[in-house]
């Protein structure tokens, strides 16, 4: 059986066997969010095989290394992908010249294994040693080395297979245009097959680490790091949240004996602790603070002396999450001239916080100026900002990442900086050109060396307009102009003025997390509503009491996950939800147990016709629902219901047993609720005081005609760009008012200072969300009517009108808009 399976696998080309071309494979990168169906995958072991493949293959050719780029830079649809990882030999090595020539598919770790016994080290490489040398050359990596810059600075020469099959040597002196085009050229000019790299001494280094305000960092860098030849590695981690504090860590040459004996990171090292730490930092409430105040002080305590090669041989396994099915860890990177550091961090902090990005870390690195690559990211001396964050893997999540990534790119390029190209391809063509001003020269060289545009991948499909590939990717245009964010004010100065004014408006800003956290609270309105509707034509014993308990907690789990990591933990609200959820659980547990046993027995004995008490119970349930849509539940008078139960139904009549069973059961329910409501009322007043009854929203325009007849809406201020600050009623009235306003053409820019808002709708069970903006974040069946389901849509406020109008057009029930 096992033999048969092996033969089958080989026949279908599913095994990565050297030299074999695998047909129609899906290639992906480390993030697992960029699957690309290629025509074939070739795994060459000789340069001749590459020459032959490039020369003879009529279609596009892509080049893959370690698969650590994160946006499809190694493939494109229908291409022949050359998987370089088996072309991984050491061609030549000279200890005296401190130089090594390697095949491009070799990993840095394998190079380290070769040179470490000779007390040599790689001169420049990235932090992780799993990458292939060719991949690193193609993206022109950098590391944490002080006094160094892009990898190109350590490259003596390369050999490259061009589109016509020629094997060419390139160096700063020989074919320099190919040398400076191919390094950092992302496989556009040819297949780099060999490289000669400079090496350095493998020295002992001692770790030092200091925490300081960001404002002090540049001075610290200038006086303690820059120009100090003994500092080998250096980086500074900015703590997410306030982004105003850094931990600066350096590894300085020393003669002290090592405290870590291993010369290289053990390849079989376990990383469960690192993964747990990542999980805690990214997902746990207070994880960021835990890292800053607990984990880091532990990690950085004590003396640490190690070999340079040890510090340069990290394994990306330490970053690997348990699963990338619903979320993934992703990198991106921005570069700005060294004197613009603080400006960029301020802008970056604003963008990341505004979009609630789950940032795990931002690492500042330093790089000297690039010597002349056409796609240089270090056009001057720069600080690099390596942003490590967690994101969801759904299309909606990716679109959302695109929005704030483009803002970050604008922030960097506005300061004369750039962004790094190996990551997700979110930048517009304009942004690409702004970050890489010599792109035209690069594309001209490509036309010269590769006139048929043979070498392609997703990156060049996106930005190489003159190529024959498909149109470049660009941010998706909304399918409907209803969702177009037309409401961004054009003038940044006016926007700043408005923002400054709004910051000073008391009660303007509400916690955005509450748009999600109030959903479980509202369920305690929806469930009684379902219960009331249910009682109108079905017996109480059939209601899904226990399923509703389960569903309540499942909603709570979902909103917890939606807010975890994106917002500071709102402990008060969580406690409140836990209290009301526990009450709901107790109530439905007791009621369900009673109704499913005694209640059902009495129902069966008395026949299907409802008694007066059953009818009254249904009415009370409906009254209760109507009441709590406008008022807190604890204000409802259960005593009144109790008295009506006894005064307005007969003492005797048909189905006497059921009649009195209902009287007593409902009495017990109303009595308990009456007393419990009184208790909660007192506690609520004491804990929360009086509730805020308005929510403030910034709208594009608020013409008087659109506000006519809106008694609950008040214009608080009009701004010079035509926008206005409106006061709106809260809760159910908020939904109704917003619906009326969007129908009259009002477009929201911000609501309560927030950019996203939750909307729930009740839709047919088979309906799929296909609106151009917004994304379904929760979807669950309606328990009392399985033909329907409730969807919770995360809506950008700027597109709220489009979403609401579209749902209304389709006659779908907009249940609520959650006003924080």
């Amino acid at each position: 059986m096992r033999k048969t399976r092996l033969v089958c696998l080989l026949a279908t080309g599913a095994l990565a066997w050297p030299g074999l071309a695998r047909a129609s494979a899906v290639v992906n990168d480390v993030t697992r969010i960029n699957p690309i169906v290629v025509d074939r995958v070739l795994v060459p072991t000789t340069i001749d095989a590459i020459v032959e493949a490039v020369r003879s293959h009529p279609g596009p050719v892509s080049i893959g290394g370690g698969r650590f780029s994160q946006g499809g830079q190694t493939a494109t649809e229908g291409a022949l992908q050359i998987d370089m990882r088996r072309l991984d030999g050491v061609v030549a090595f000279s200890k005296e010249r401190k130089e090594i020539t390697v095949q491009a598919g070799i990993t840095w770790r394998k190079i380290q294994n070769t040179i470490d016994p000779h007390d040599l080290s790689v001169q420049i490489m990235q932090s992780y040693a799993n990458f292939t040398a060719g991949g690193s050359l193609s993206v022109n990596v950098h590391g944490r080395y002080i006094g160094q810059g892009p990898l190109v600075q350590s490259v003596r020469s390369i050999r490259i297979v061009l589109a016509d099959g020629r094997l060419v040597t390139a160096s700063p002196a020989e074919n320099p245009e190919i040398f400076y085009g191919a390094i950092g050229g992302y496989g556009a000019l040819g297949v780099i097959v060999e490289a000669t790299l400079g090496l350095a001494d493998n020295v002992r280094v001692e770790r030092t680490s200091e925490v300081m305000p960001l404002s002090a960092y540049r001075d610290y860098f200038d006086t303690r790091i820059r120009g100090h030849r003994d500092v080998i590695f250096h980086n500074a981690d900015i703590y997410p949240g306030a982004y105003d504090t850094v931990r600066a860590t350096s590894f300085v040459r020393t003669d002290k004996p090592v405290t870590i004996e291993s010369r290289l990171m053990p390849e079989d090292k376990s990383y469960w602790g690192d993964r747990l730490g990542m999980r805690m930092v990214s997902d746990w409430p207070g994880g960021k603070a835990l890292r800053r105040y607990v984990l880091d002080p532990i990690l950085f305590r004590g003396e640490r002396v190690e070999w340079r090669n040890y510090e340069a041989s990290y394994d990306v396994k330490e970053l690997e999450p348990v699963s990338r099915r619903t979320s993934t860890y992703v990198l991106q990177e921005y570069f700005v001239p060294v004197d613009r550091l603080e400006e960029f961090v301020r802008a970056m902090a604003d963008i990341l916080n505004r979009h609630h990005v789950n940032t795990l870390n931002v690492s500042i690195r330093h790089a000297t100026q690039d010597p002349g690559t056409l796609l240089a990211w270090a056009r001057t001396e720069v600080f690099a900002f390596v942003h490590y964050y967690k994101q969801g893997t759904s299309d909606a999540d990716r679109r959302e990442v695109g929005v704030w990534t483009r803002e970050l790119i604008d922030a960097a390029t506005a300061l004369g900086g750039a962004y790094y190209l190996p990551y997700q391809i979110h930048a517009t063509e304009r942004q690409f050109r702004a970050a890489y001003p010599r792109a035209d020269a690069f594309f001209a060289l490509k036309r010269k060396l590769d006139p048929t545009n043979k070498f392609r991948n997703k990156l060049w499909d996106a930005y190489d307009k003159s190529g024959s590939g498909p149109s470049p990717a660009r941010p998706r245009a909304p399918a409907s102009n209803r969702s177009a964010p037309v409401n961004a004010p054009p003038d940044p100065a006016v926007r700043r003025q408005i923002a400054a004014f709004l910051q000073g408006v008391p009660g303007y800003k509400r916690d955005e997390a509450q748009t999600y956290l109030t959903l479980p609270e509202w369920l305690l309105v929806y469930y009684p509503g379902e219960y009331a509707r249910f009682l109108k034509d079905r017996p109480a014993s059939d209601f899904p009491y226990f399923a509703s308990i389960g569903q309540f907690w499942s909603y709570y789990r979902d909103v917890y996950r939606l807010t975890r990591g994106r917002y500071p933990v709102n402990w008060g609200y969580h406690v409140m939800v836990l209290v009301i959820g526990s009450s709901y659980t107790a109530e439905n547990g007791i009621k369900g147990s009673y109704e499913r046993t005694i209640g059902r027995l009495v129902e069966r004995l008395s026949g299907p016709a409802p008694t007066q008490e059953d009818v009254l119970a249904a009415d009370v349930a409906q009254d209760y629902v109507d009441f709590i849509r406008a008022e807190p539940w604890y204000e409802f008078s259960f005593l009144r219901s109790l008295k009506q139960l006894w005064a307005e139904t007969d003492l005797f009549g048909p189905h006497l047993l059921r009649k009195w069973e209902r009287k007593l059961a409902l009495s017990a329910e109303y009595l308990v609720k009456a007393e419990y409501a009184t208790l909660i009322k007192v506690a609520s007043k004491a804990a929360y005081g009086n509730e805020v009854t308005e929510v403030l929203a910034l709208v594009d325009e608020a013409p008087a005609a659109a506000l006519e007849g809106e008694a609950g809406v008040e214009v608080r201020r009009r701004f010079e760009d035509g926008s206005a600050l409106l006061s709106l009623p809260r809760y159910d009235e908020f939904r109704d008012t917003v619906l009326r306003l969007v129908t009259r053409g009002i477009r929201f820019r911000e609501i309560a200072g927030n950019g996203e808002i939750l909307v729930t709708a009740v839709v047919p069970a088979e309906w799929s969300y296909d609106l151009p903006s917004g994304s379904v974040v929760i979807e669950k069946p309606m328990l009392a009517d399985r033909r329907l389901k409730r969807i919770a849509v995360r809506a950008p406020v700027a597109s709220l009108h489009g979403i609401l109008l579209e749902l209304a057009d389709r006659k779908l029930e907009i249940e609520h808009v959650y006003d924080y």
Partner: protein, 117 residues
């Protein structure tokens, strides 16, 4: 018989009869937050609480402060607890059945009051 009349709970049906009249007389029924509604609740709670204090004294049951407080703010839960604690399981069960009868009688009196109105 004389002891029964010393029991404050006998006043419960009387009070309910009066409040039934009051609430269904001028108005068409009880109203949320109205004075008669609140007053009726207060009177009922007071009578039950006084009965509890007298009963506990007669039985030599030392009621904790928590139980006393619970008898005021969460009577529906505290009363059955007290009945079982002070009388044992069988006695508690009987007393609970009796208290349900008292409650039903009280509510029937309320209905009668509403009919007289």
């Amino acid at each position: 018989m004389a002891r029964a009349f010393r029991n404050p709970l006998v006043l419960l049906p009387v009070a309910s009869l009066v409040f039934g009249c009051l609430e269904y007389g001028p108005a068409r029924g009880p109203e949320s937050g109205s004075v008669p509604l609140l007053l009726h609740a207060l009177v009922t709670l007071s009578l039950v609480f006084v009965w509890f204090l007298l009963d506990a004294r007669d039985r030599g049951y030392k009621a904790s402060i928590a139980l006393r407080a619970a008898m005021v703010i969460l009577t529906v839960v505290a009363l059955p607890y007290y009945l079982f604690r002070s009388r044992g399981f069988a006695g508690g069960l009987r007393a609970l059945a009796l208290s349900i009868l008292v409650f039903a009688g009280t509510m029937v009196a309320y209905r009668l009051g509403s009919l007289f109105a």
